[in-house]
């Protein structure tokens, strides 16, 4: 009886419910990062000049390139969804790979950015940081915490996108059943959205 019951429950497919669930999850991510944004807001107000000074260590070009990369990737995955909805499976898969490539470029950039910081002895708990002002220390702490948490989400997003691409290839996600791609794309857009705020707040402090 349980077999029948399970089959029946699985028959009940509700794409709107899946999408609503994904949006709710996105809300939790907004609040999660929100906590860090709150810490940032408080300390920037407290140490405004020192935040500005410390932010000069960051390379605006790096940040801008990463911003462009993520924006392009967001468009790519949105287009991938359009393609799949129009049953252009190959185009959809290609666009997803483009998105994944962009994610990879972002992470490589991040790797070099952080690497550069470490080389200059800039990291939480370093000897150099101990000699700096409070505002500088907190700025770099926030820089690593926020971009680090963000990079973790980029990585997870990449993995999800790879899984989606494989499923499309296997025919499990298709023009008649694309909510999985929709949700993966929503997650990816969230990652982009967070960076849209991180970029000016960390890189462009006057």
């Amino acid at each position: 009886m349980e077999h029948q019951a399970k089959a029946h429950l699985l028959e009940h497919r509700d794409d709107e419910a899946s999408k609503l669930g994904m949006w709710l999850f996105i809300f939790t991510e907004i609040l999660l990062f929100g906590g860090l944004f709150l810490v940032y807001a408080v300390y920037r107000a407290m140490y405004h000049t020192q935040f500005h000074e410390a932010s000069l260590e960051l390379n605006v070009i790096f940040g801008a390139v990463n911003t462009i990369v993520l924006l392009v990737s967001s468009m790519a995955v949105a287009m991938a969804l359009t393609a799949l909805q129009e049953n252009k499976v190959k185009l959809s898969r290609q666009l997803i790979w483009l998105t994944i490539l962009c994610a990879f470029i972002f992470l490589v950039n991040k790797y070099f950015e952080w690497g550069g910081k470490f080389e200059h002895d800039i990291y939480p708990g370093s000897e150099l940081l101990k000699k700096l002002e409070h505002g500088h220390i907190l700025y770099f702490g926030l820089y690593f915490a926020m971009t680090g948490l963000h990079a973790l989400h980029v990585t997870v997003g990449m993995i999800i996108l790879i899984v989606v691409e494989r499923r499309i290839k296997a025919g499990k996600v298709h023009a008649g059943k694309f909510v999985f791609l929709e949700n993966a794309a929503l997650y990816w857009h969230l990652v982009d959205l967070i960076w849209i705020f991180l970029f000016p707040l960390l890189y462009l402090i006057t």
């Binding site: 794409d15 709107e16 609503l20 949006w23 920037r44 462009i68 949105a78 982009d192 402090i205």
Partner: protein
């Protein structure tokens, strides 16, 4: 209980729309970099955040398809933004007035 195989919006976002949004987003990115390159005191962060909000709105509405979703999700997104804003404002009331 109805089986709901399609998203409520059978709406498919055209490639041109998505590309246009990207162009606008890129332009706004450059705008942000420009306005923060001169010292406008408190206006710098305000303007930068404002532009970021416009960019965010575009990503939400077009890339995340919110413009074409049902009213419930739109209201919920608004609610979450309001909640987040309130939390920051209330915490600021502590720090600004110490």
């Amino acid at each position: 209980m109805t089986d709901n195989h399609h998203s409520a919006s059978a709406h498919i976002t055209p490639y041109l729309t998505l590309a246009t949004v990207l162009v606008v987003l890129l332009a706004l990115t450059f705008v942000t970099i420009e306005i923060t390159s001169f010292d406008l005191k408190a206006w710098n962060v305000t303007l930068a955040l404002l532009v970021a909000c416009v960019k965010g709105y575009l990503v939400l509405s077009y890339f995340m398809h919110l413009k074409y979703e049902n009213l419930l999700i739109k209201i919920l997104v608004g609610m979450v933004i309001v909640l987040f804003a309130l939390i920051i404002i209330i915490t600021y009331i502590d720090y600004l007035f110490r």
